[in-house]
């Protein structure tokens, strides 16, 4: 019978109970949905890394010859060096590889990162289509599936490459360019040769080293523009046609630890000793850009999946609390009757606990069932345009069940809190109506300000203090909703700001001509003159300070007008001619400021330089240090331009120019990237809408039920409906205002936390814009007004006779 009573009670209070169910559902839906999403990514990536035996350490060789390492003629890692590393304690396997950039024989000259692998047992390939990697196959190539797809080539097709003195040089650390033996030394640009060769596609592949890949000059991956391919060492082209091919000058060592997981620093020290320091870069797996970027992405999702459900959980609990307390209070006499009839206390207790228990149970169960099965598929399509994984599948975790169980327990506990006191009374006490809550005049009421308040304001203040849980629920609901909306829109703003900052404030050039390596300075000058440009040197560097080390970029300019640094307010600023200027983000990461001393070192060069920070400036995508050419050269460094900037749009092929990055195109690429952000933004807004409607409706329902009698009295006394509506509205507006004021900074904080996880290379400007504030304002108050509109109808048709019948 008590079950019947429960079902009928739920029917009568369906709005509240539906919202408890809904909030419990949403909390778990988001927790398990986003949890399933990022865990799925994590698992896919981990499986991918394990399956392909991803290297633990990459060691890039460095020649004495220059920043970009060895060429055809340079000496690579010898077999003896590889063996020496293999003997180091903790090292399980070592393999050599030659990485170099080549230009694919396609339209727009795409850059392909070629890996001539000794065995491809470490960081092995994942075959999507075609044959497995054959380390002896001299004529075959295993091409990135994403590139092949974008370019419309497949297994069996023959593709051509050229490696020239002018190929993409300033790419990731360790990438080398190939210098043709003939014609480079002292040769004019017009005479330099490029080596051309053709290979047959044997397989289309994914590589775990390229879960994320982006050319350094663009923010977003364009799979038709760059890619990677693996070849057998036997496929290494003869440097000069007719000559027998030699062993490739392996410039990379892939190291696999033996599973004893030696301390990272110790391993690095030992390997350093084994190689006698003759290498340029030692890169651990966590610092591999692809691994790092993907791990950051997962962290970002994890945080959202952990934070957002808390809001819903709080609302579920507060709704539970308010609903149960009121219902139990209204059923006081019923409880007394049941007790008097001899129903055991335990049975009554179970009855009231079952409300919270079953609602939370069904809500959570539905959330666990539906969340991971649906939510991840909202994210995966946009994510797969950035990342490459063999499998996109959500993963389940026992935490989903633990958290669900905790939610069910909490809701049940709240039910207990609501009815426990009543049950401990004697039946006779319970049968008597509860003494009304006595009011006291608070400190506020003794102020002058209080006396000036209208009776409606006084009523509202006292009503709020009478129903604290209800008020708290309203404030938290609006707070959560505002935070979500502000977060959604400020993330959007942030993306737009970054774009404006990067492409309109900082980058004033239209074309960036990436120069080939080993160009003569006269050729560089010719190019510069041809496009009326300015030379810059942009290389990878490492910076050390306070015991911290940070990979960053080093920019040396001739005082260009085409790159305009900005201060922390994103306003253009001037950098000093003497000394080092450092980006704000890098400065923060290293814990340095103006006047502090830092050490820096160019990748591929041995030895560290020291200098003091003269200025801290802000820069969106290229974190690191910058200095003037004069200062750079005064330190004994050689200014070797890597790019020429031009305000003109350069579309023609220029000899010696490896590729041209057009600002207008990159800026379009950025729009594509932000497209993916919108999934999250829409999701946040939808969540905010549900949250606000449920909470405000509930609040309205509760206050209306509680004040119905008072409203009816006032109506009987002749008070106009408009005035009564105003009474309800003003209370709701006050809660909305408080929730809103608290929600805005919370939303901004959330945004800053989320963008902070985008990695160290981005500096996202998180500013609150007036339109965002207005949208959030309109959203919060609009929802509030909408729900109130619904209740104003109820006031108009308030049944005065019914409402004023004797109290039960």
């Amino acid at each position: 019978m008590l079950v019947l009573k429960m079902l009928r009670d739920m029917g009568r209070h369906r709005t509240q109970f539906i919202s408890i169910f809904l909030m419990a559902f949403l909390a778990i839906f988001i927790y398990a949905g986003v949890g399933g999403e990022w865990r799925g990514l994590q698992k896919s990536a981990d499986d991918f890394y394990a399956e392909t035996n991803l290297a633990d350490v990459w060691i890039y060789g460095g020649g004495s010859g220059g920043a970009q390492g060895v060429g055809f003629g340079g000496a690579g890692f010898s077999e003896a060096q590889a063996e020496a590393v293999g003997r180091v304690d903790g090292v399980g396997a070592v393999e050599r590889r030659l990485e170099m950039n080549a230009v694919g024989d396609f339209e727009n000259k795409p850059v392909l990162n070629l890996c001539f692998a000794e065995r491809n047992e470490i960081s092995s390939l994942y075959i999507v289509e075609g044959a497995g990697f054959d380390k002896n196959d001299a004529g075959g190539i295993w091409l990135s599936q994403r590139f092949a797809e974008a370019r419309g080539v497949g297994v069996g097709d023959v593709i051509g490459f050229s490696v020239s003195a002018a190929n993409g040089a300033n790419d990731a650390a360790g990438a080398v360019d190939v210098e043709a033996r003939s014609g480079s030394a002292g040769g004019g640009a017009d005479t330099h040769d490029s080596l051309k060769f053709e290979k047959t596609i044997r397989g289309l592949v994914y590589s775990a080293e390229h879960v994320f890949e982006s050319a350094s000059e663009t923010l977003t991956p364009d799979f038709s523009d760059h890619g990677y391919a693996y070849l057998s060492a036997n496929a290494f082209p003869a440097p000069v046609p007719g000559m027998p091919s030699a062993e490739p000058p392996y410039n990379t060592l892939l190291v696999k630890t033996d599973g004893t997981s030696p301390p990272a620093a110790e391993l690095e020290r030992k390997i350093d000793a084994a190689l006698d320091g003759r290498y340029s870069v030692y890169l651990e797996r966590v610092n591999l850009p692809s691994v790092n970027m993907f791990a950051n992405e997962i962290q970002q999702h994890k945080m959202m999946g952990d934070i957002f459900p808390v809001v819903f959980l709080l609302i579920a609990l507060l709704t539970m609390m308010t609903t149960m307390t009121r219902m139990v209070a209204n059923q006081r006499v019923q409880v007394g009757t049941l007790k008097a009839l001899g129903v055991k206390r335990g049975a009554i207790l179970r009855h009231y606990l079952s409300y919270g228990f079953f609602l939370a149970l069904f809500g959570a169960a539905l959330g666990v069932a539906v969340g991971p099965a649906t939510l991840p598929y909202l994210f995966y399509p946009s994510m797969s345009s950035f990342y490459t994984l063999p499998e996109w599948k959500p993963a389940y975790a026992p935490e989903f069940l633990f958290v669900s169980a905790a939610l069910v327990l909490l809701c049940t506990a709240v039910s207990l809190l609501a009815c426990g006191k009543l049950l401990s009374e004697s039946p006779a006490d319970t049968l008597r109506p509860k003494a009304p809550k006595a009011f006291r005049h608070g400190a506020l009421e003794r102020t002058k300000f209080w006396r000036r308040l209208s009776w409606a304001a006084k009523w509202n203040v006292r009503d709020a203090s009478r129903s604290r849980a209800r008020s708290l629920m309203a404030v938290i609901g609006v707070f959560g909703c505002t935070a979500l909306v502000v977060c959604a829109f400020s993330m959007n703003d942030c993306m737009k700001d970054l774009k404006t900052w990067q492409y309109e404030t900082v980058n004033l050039y239209e074309s960036k001509l990436i120069l080939g390596n080993n160009l003569t300075s006269s050729r560089i000058d010719e190019i510069t003159e041809e496009v009326n440009g300015e030379k810059i040197m942009e290389v990878k560097a490492e910076i050390r300070a306070n015991g911290r080390k940070q990979g960053a970029s080093l920019l040396v300019t001739d005082g260009t007008e085409l790159i305009r640094p900005t201060d922390s307010e994103l306003k253009p600023t001037k950098l000093p001619e003497i000394g080092i200027s450092i980006t704000e983000k890098t400065a923060e990461l290293l814990g340095v400021g103006k006047g502090d001393s830092i050490e820096w070192h160019v990748y591929g060069e041995q030895g560290w330089m020291e200098g003091s920070v003269e200025k801290v400036y802000r820069e969106p995508v290229n974190q690191g240090i910058t200095m003037r050419r004069g200062h750079f050269e005064s330190l004994g460094m050689e200014f070797r331009p890597t790019a020429v900037l031009s305000a003109k749009k350069v579309v023609r092929d220029i000899d010696g120019v490896d590729s041209v990055v057009l600002t207008s195109e990159s800026s379009t690429g950025w729009d594509d990237l932000t497209e993916a952000m919108y999934t999250m933004v829409y999701l946040l807004i939808a969540a905010a809408a549900v949250l606000s409607v449920v909470v405000l409706y509930n609040l309205g329902m509760l206050s209306f039920t509680e004040m119905e009698r008072e409203m009816a009295t006032l109506k009987v006394m002749g008070m106009k409906s408009g005035r009564l509506r105003g009474l309800l509205l003003s209370q709701s507006l006050w809660f909305t205002a408080i929730g809103f004021v608290l929600g805005v900074p919370a939303g901004m904080w959330l945004t800053s936390r989320i963008v902070a996880m985008s990695g160290d290379s981005f500096d996202f400007p998180v500013f609150l814009h007036a339109p965002t504030l207005l949208i959030a304002l309109a959203f919060a108050f609009g929802m509030s007004a909408l729900v109130n509109l619904f209740f104003s109808g109820k006031i108009r048709y308030l049944d005065m006779v019914g409402s004023l019948k004797g109290v039960e």
Binding site: A435, P436, K437, A438, F439, H441, W455, A456, K458, W459, R462, D463, R466, R709, E710, A712, T713, L714, K715, V716, M717, G718, M719, K720, S721, R723, R796, M800, V801, L804, G806, V807
Partner: protein, 241 residues
Amino acid sequence: MSIERTEKNEIIRFERVTREYGTGAHVLKAVDDVSFAIREGEFVVILGPSGAGKSTLLNLLGGMDFASSGKIFVGGDNIVGLPDDRLTEYRAAHVGFVFQFYNLIPTLTAFENIALTRNIVKKPLDARNALEMVGLADHADQFPAQLSGGEQQRVSIARAVAKNPTMLLCDEPTGALDSETGAVVLEMLQGMSRERGKTVVIVTHNAALANAADRVIRIRNGRISAVEENESPKAVSEVAW
């Protein structure tokens, strides 16, 4: 609103008023073809057993319920069929309600409960004077929950009177009070009629009160069984309980 001439001093007239609930075979006539009149300043008691239709009659008069047929004239104007907002205006200007369970606003003090009439009518009585009138001037800052039932009912009367209405409509005003306190409240209501000239209509099932009324309307099964005029009504204090 059409103005019809009424008998001198007559303030209220019910003409063949019926109030039906439900439809078809399940029609219940709570008030069935009722006609009577009340003069200005009278102290009227509507008597009848539970379920006789007394409260419905009062609600119809107070503009809280709608008559199914008939006419109800107040001060010459028929209030049957008035739209909601006109009825609200009517209640504000003419009717002071006193409820069985007082219906004070729990979050407002005694004073504030009375003072809120300022938001309903243009020229209410001063709230302090109204409180003094019911002898509760020193309870002004107390909340309803801090007052006894009788005190709450006195505040409720003060609130009704503060609007300065044409009539006071009281639905079982002593129903929740002990007899002693009830007597105080009734004396007060009688005083409103005698000293202030208000028309006071009280619904009760306490037959003893009949002796104190100027006019007694007896109702049974929704119909009027008798309307008696009392030539020499007694003071409430003289009425035996």
